[in-house]
Structures are given as C-alpha cells and as structure tokens.
Amino acid sequence: MVPPTVAGEVVEVSKDGSYTIYHPIVKIREKSGNVKELTLVQEWPIRKPRPFNKRLGIEKPLITGQRVIDTLFPIAKGGAAAIPGGFGTGKTMTQHQLAKWSDADIIVYIGCGERGNEMTEVLEDFPKLIDPKSGRPLMERTVLIANTSNMPVAAREASIYTGITLAEYYRDMGYHVAIMADSTSRWAEALREISGRLEEMPAEEGFPAYLPSRLSEFYERAGYVESLSGREGSITIIGAVSPQGGDFSEPVTQNTKRFIRCFWALDRQLAYSRHYPAIHWLTSYSEYMDLLADWFKENVDERFLLLRTEIVRLLQEESKLMEIVKLIGGDVLPDEQKLILEIARVIRLGFLQQNAYHESDTYVPLVKQFKMMETIIYLYNTSRKLIEKGIPMSVLREKEIFEEVIKMKYTIGNDEMEKFEEIRGRIDSFYKELYNEYK
C-alpha cells in the first residue's frame, strides 16, 4: 500500500523475491518530478488520523455470535460501543469473546493498563483457536498492544493511539477492523497523571479539562469509509470503561456516552448471580438498531425485528411486575401476568445468558439466534391461548416444556436448525394435551 502522502506514477518495481522491509520496492514519480522510493513499511504519527476519501453509511452489523449483543443491542461495522462495568463484571471476557468470534478481518486488542495475565491468556489461546472464516489460527488476524498496569503511564497514554493507527492502516487496505481498548479508564487516568505532573488546572475529579475532546477524537476515528484507493474498509471501536466504585455517573463514563452509540451496561447484581454476559437489558441501548433493520430483514428474516421487539417488551413487562412481586409476592398476580414472568425467565436463562466456556454456546450464528427467539415467542403465544381457556398457570408450569426451551441452547447444535421443528412439535403437543384435558 502506498502511503497517503505519496501520489504519482510508478516507474519501477522490484523483481519477485525476498526483501527486507527496509528495501526499496517501488519507485514513484510525483507530479513535481521527484522520484520517491517506497519500502514495505510505513510510518505515521499516531495522534493524527490517517486520511480517506469519504465516510460511507453505516448499514452492516458486526456479527459477534453473542445473543444479547447481536439481537438486542447490535453494533455496526464502523460504529463505536462502550462497555462500562465495575470490577469483575465481564468487560474483558466480553472483549475477548468479540476478539475471538466477531466477523471482522483484523482485530487490534489494546491491553491498556490492565493485567499481564490477561495478555498472556490471549497469547496462549489465540494461536490454538481457528478462525472459521479463514481456517487459520486466530492469532494471525490479531495484533496485541500490551501496556499492563505496572508499565509506564506515558506509554499507556500512547497505546490507544498506536492501536487506532494500526487499525487505520489495515482499514486503508480494505479490511474490516475491530479494535478493543481495555480499559479506556486507565488511559484517562494516565492523562490525569501526566496532566497533574504538568501542573495543569484540573477539571472534574482531577481529570484535565480536555478529557472530553480527547475521548471524542479517539471515537471519531471509528467509521465505515472509502479509502484513498477506493476500497471499503471499516473500524469498529469497542471501549471498556472501568468506573470508580462501579458508578456510571463519573466523568469517563459520562463523557464516553456522548461519543458512542452503543452502550452495553454491565450490572454488578447480574454478575453476582452469575448471569453472564452481565449486560443489563434495561440500561443498555444501541442506536444502530434502526440503521441495521434492513440488513437483518434481508439477511436473517423478515420477522427478526418484530420478534426482537416482543422480547424487549416482555422483559420490560417483567421488570414492572417484579416491583409488585417484591411488595406482595407473586401469588396474587393474574395468570396472564404469571405467564409473562415465566416467559421472561425463559428469555433470561435460555436466551440472554450465554456461556462463554461452552463449546457451542460460546458463539451462536444469527439463524440460531432467530430460531431461538421464534421458539420462545411461539411458546408464549401458545401458552397464552391455554391461559385464555382458563387453564391455570400452575398447571402449565408442571409441564417440562419451559425447561426444555431454556435448555435448547445446549441441546440444539449450531448446525442442527431442523431440531427447532421438533421443539415446535413438542410445544404443539403440550397445547393439545392440556387443551384436551380441560375441554
């Protein structure tokens, strides 16, 4: 690839063979008549964004294989997401999952002021994992930038820019790059520490007043673009945020929110009860959903959004009903509402919870995500008909169908879509059985 600063006519190309990266490979005559020699390396000042022709619209998702992300809060290729959460809530795990399974061509992973062992883990695991797209070890598409917490803070401040510049370099070649920064809070703290040493006037919580502008400069470097060579490439940024005391009102989380459009809020209570990924369905959001709607309709199913909306509605209903249950217990609720609670439980356990350590559940293709939603909603609608017939919820609950649907993530393999028909069949017989009993 020719550096952005050079343009002109190729006048000489080296013969095929092996060369060192510093060996001149191509000569280019510029308009001025100067001849420039190009080698296989480029240098670029990391704080300056690399140029491109133009920004293109955002319309494709970055597919991650994580249900709560792809289905509820999708991230677009060229978009930016933040994943805030207190310690131990799952920021690093989620980022590792995306680094492993997302359908990007290149992954840039910045360990910014975090643990040494987490870097070592990537170094040990990734060479062993196979990238389904290329059939090659995952490590080959990954660049790691390691600045662990015990390394100098000045380098920590720079590591973010090094990472994004590498990402731009690959984007300019026409690749889709996903960049993970774990954690942007440590970077902000490095800014604060350096600013303190320079004796600058601090703003909020000791952070320098230019924190928001630095954050926006970073996140602005995401995007789906046409590169100088006319190819399409993208950078998707996923930044972890480690708020002090797990409190999202602190400056780094608040300022980050202004520059991202996808917010995966990790919840301490969910993590405590081992609901993983602990991305909370009520406090998270993705503003990309509308932009991606057409893509999902065309590439997954016409009804994808409809079902998604229904799932979200049921979860919201559940949270309202839980307020009542907390006050007076669940027994007094009418049966339709008890059913909502039961289905929401199926959604939480069977759909939202996803086990990163399970062989097949760790990555789930979009078709299966869709079929799972479809099955859950089918179960809901079928049960509702029974309730309308006056059959009590307690009777419905005695049937094993709810547990069976919860376990379908394990019982149905990622390439056994036909098995969903069987479950559907069992939902039908569940209906018939009860219907006949109560006729």
Partner: protein, 466 residues
C-alpha cells in the same frame, strides 16, 4: 569523591527538600546525617531542576534546616538476598530485627522490581487446595494468582489467612518446595505476633520470611515494606524454584500511608483524598504475582484489606478489585450468624479458576456445581427479600425449599471449623448433596448429562457423614 550537601530548604511531614543537588536520580537512596553522627536513610521521590524531595524512612523528628548533611548513594533501595533469608524477620526496609545478624548477600536487588513482559509470563493453571469449601469449591485459588481477602474491622481475616497457609497444598506436587513471605503494614503487635505464633505452631517458621512495619513504625517504611517482601519472593520463586505464598496485610494501612505522603507533597488528590496514581501504585505490587516461562517457582499473593465502613466501593477495595484476579469477600452479617469463615460467595470471585478446575484438574462436574451453587444461592437472596415482606409462611413450597437450601448452604458448606480441612472431593460432593434439597428442574445451570450423573434428592440420613 562523594559530595555532601549541607542544610535543607524545607521540611514537610516525612519529607525534606534539598537544594542545589546535582546528578540525582528518581528513586535514588540518600544517606542523611543528623547532628554530629546519627544516620538515617531516605529516598528521592521528586526532582525539579536542582531541587530534590526526599522521603526520610525513620521520619523527620529532630531534623532542622541546618543540622543535616546529605549524600547521594548512587543506587535505588536494594535489599541483600541469600537462601539463608528463610526464617528471618526484618523491618520495613529490610534490616534484620531478630537479633541474628546481617544477611551475607548472594545478590542485591532493587526493591522496585521490573514489570514482567506478558510474553514471558506463564498463564497460571494449577490450583492450590486450601481445604476450605467456599474457596476450593467456589473461588478456587490458583498457583500464581493474586487473590485478596476483602474484610473489615472485627472480621476473622487473620484466622482465615493462617488457615490457608497451614492447609495449602499443591495438588499433585506434594514434594514441591514452598515458602511464605509475610509482610505486616501498619498492623498492631498482637496481629504480627498471632501470625508468628501460628507459623511456629504449624512448624513452618523455617520457611517464612517476615517483614514487619507495625502501627507505630515509620509511615514511609510502610511504602517500602511490601516492595522488599516481593523482591524476596521473586528471588525465592525464580532463583530457588520455590512456590511462594505472599501475605500482605493490611493494604488499607498501606494506602493510607501513601495518602499521607502524597498530601505532604502537596499533590492534587483524587477520590477520598487518595492520590490519582493509587491504581498504578497498587498495580506495581499486585502485578508482581505470577509465573514465568521456563522457571519452576511461582508467586501467589493473598493481600488482606479492611474495607472502611464495610464499603466495597471505597477506592481501596475498588482499585484492588480492578487489578487482582478476583476477591474473597467476608461479610459481617454471616459473621454475626456465627458462620466461619464468613465468606459471602456472591461478590467473591476467582477469575483464574476457569482454567484450573474441571476435568483433568479437579473433577468434571466442578464448573457445573460451582455455577449452580452461585445461581441458586443468588436466588435465595431474592426469596429472602420476599419472605421479609410477606412472611415465610406465605411463601410457595418451592420458595420454602430455597430458604432451606440457603440455610444449609451457609451452615454446612460455607461454615467449617478453624481446623477442618476438606478434600476437594468432599467439597464437591457436599455441594451436590445440598443442591439435592432443590427439585431437579430448578438446576438450570447444569448440563443434562452431569445433572443425571450427580443429582440425588436430598436425604437427611446421610447427614453427618462429612
């Protein structure tokens, strides 16, 4: 020839400011002569042009602007090391205080250590059996891990730490050499004595190195003490192939010392007056745990901290949790119920256990049973909240089972005696036995195969077998 600088520009708390210094470097040691002959040690913590700020280890009492002379020593604080260091007791800056004389050094090392390149780290995978169910079963300690105990005033963290040291076994490697490095920071005499006596009673004192900076010892030395201790640990682990367990207590006093010094330096404070670099500073201690490729030894850290006001969001536990690989959280209400060790398993976590348990390490069902215990016990909390509103009698039959399970879990699984050592097998079996209180359909975190193999409905008859 060494230059001597006479007189000071300023004295502030434990710091002195010297003017006109040439060629000084950050972290360099200085020797301070007070009056005619008294010698003290100091460390350069800041340099502005020809002005250096020096921390005086023994404190600044009796120092005046005119009665001192200063000499640069040309190196950072170093500690003498040799294998003979085992069984010895030192003060916070590594001077022997057991009356057994100086150490004849094999090598001297800078106490600040060097960051380990992640490429040369080895990912820790082997577990340490502590014989304590709540730890082995649910927050498994891995060799090379940093796993702090989040405690609070009046809770039995010291007893728990001693029990861990006494019972710790390296699974499958009984003959491996182990050592304990213990560092006390700002704790009372009786706490240090308790540890010392426990080490002696269990006959491990010859494998222990102690660094004591007690509550009435100089604050500046409190900052150095853990660094000396970790330097010793690195030496034993990576040059003598030992498995070293480092106990650091109390991290809260350490952080308070850091705050005190920071404020006398006039630095801009961050949350609760702690310096903005508290995270980096703690990381420079905690990240010294681990294993290195090609070396046999390991450093496992158990830092102990007391959460001010029992508040887990306080900067000290908060920043610690962001650096360590999990935490064991002790809980006052469990303690008040008479449960020892009062480990609240829900906020507790061992991040490294995922790679060190299960088939080939502990037992195939370990991940499943651990997950299910967490999930079911989390549900117990919801049921209890409900019961406190509508009364236990009004609960559904299923919810009553949860109440029963919760009680049994706390009293039989979490609770054990101070001498009791349970094998991994016993711990896992006990977990299944208690899960048997709940109907099988409720166990939704377990793969069907495992569930069929291990689930048995609870029966009272086998009670007392453990």
């Amino acid at each position: 020839m060494k230059l001597e600088y006479i007189g000071l520009k300023e004295i502030s708390g434990p710091l002195i400011v010297v003017e006109g210094i040439q060629g000084a470097s950050y972290e360099e040691m200085v020797e301070i002569t007070v009056g005619p002959s008294e010698k003290r040690l100091g460390r350069i913590v800041e340099i502005h042009g020809d002005i250096a700020v020096v921390q005086v280890f023994e404190g600044t009492s009796n120092i005046s602007l005119t009665n001192t002379k200063i000499q640069l020593m040309g190196h950072p604080l170093e500690i003498p090391l040799s294998y003979e260091i085992l069984g010895r007791v030192f003060d916070g800056v590594g001077r022997p205080i057991d009356g057994l004389g100086e150490i004849y050094p094999e090598v001297r090392r800078d106490v600040n250590g060097k960051p380990i390149n992640p490429v040369s780290r080895e990912y820790p995978r082997n577990y340490i059996q502590t014989g304590i169910s709540s730890i082995d079963g649910l927050t498994t300690l891995i060799r090379g891990q940093k796993l702090p105990i989040f405690s609070a005033n009046g809770l039995p963290h010291d007893t728990l730490a001693v029990q861990i040291v006494r019972q710790a076994k390296l699974a499958g490697e009984e003959d491996a050499e182990f050592a304990v490095v213990f560092v006390a920071m700002g704790v009372k005499h009786d706490v240090a004595d308790y540890f010392k006596k426990s080490f002696e009673d269990s006959g491990v004192m010859q494998k222990v190195v102690m660094f004591l900076n007690l509550a009435n010892d100089p604050v500046v030395e409190r900052i150095i003490a853990p660094r000396c201790a970790l330097t010793v640990a690195e030496y034993l682990a990576f040059e003598h192939n030992m498995h070293v367990l480092v106990i650091l207590t109390d991290i809260t006093s350490y952080c308070e010392a850091l705050r005190e010094i920071s404020s006398s330096k006039g630095e801009i404070p961050s949350r609760k007056g702690f310096p903005g670099y508290l995270y980096s500073d703690l990381a420079s201690l905690y990240e010294r745990a681990g294993m290195i490729k090609g070396k046999k030894g390991s450093i496992t850290q158990i830092p102990i901290l007391t959460m001010p006001n029992d508040d887990i969001t306080h900067p000290i536990p908060d920043l610690t949790g962001y650096i360590t690989e999990g935490q064991i959280v002790l809980d006052r209400s469990l303690h008040q119920k008479g449960i020892y060790p009062p480990v609240n398993v829900l906020p507790s976590l061992s991040r490294l256990m995922k790679d060190g348990i299960g088939e080939g390490f502990t037992r195939e069902d370990h991940p499943a049973v651990a997950n299910q215990l967490f999930a079911s016990y989390a549900h117990v909390q919801e049921v209890r909240a409900l019961a406190s509103v509508i009364g236990e009698d009004e609960l559904s039959e299923l919810d009553k089972k949860y109440i029963e399970f919760g009680k049994a879990f706390e009293e039989e699984f979490v609770s054990q005696s101070r001498e009791e050592e349970r094998s991994m097998e016993n711990t896992l079996d006990l977990g299944w036995r208690l899960l048997g209180i709940l109907p099988k359909e409720e166990l939704d975190r377990v793969d069907v195969k495992i569930l069929d193999k291990y689930y048995r409905p609870y029966s009272n008859k086998v009670r007392g077998e453990f």
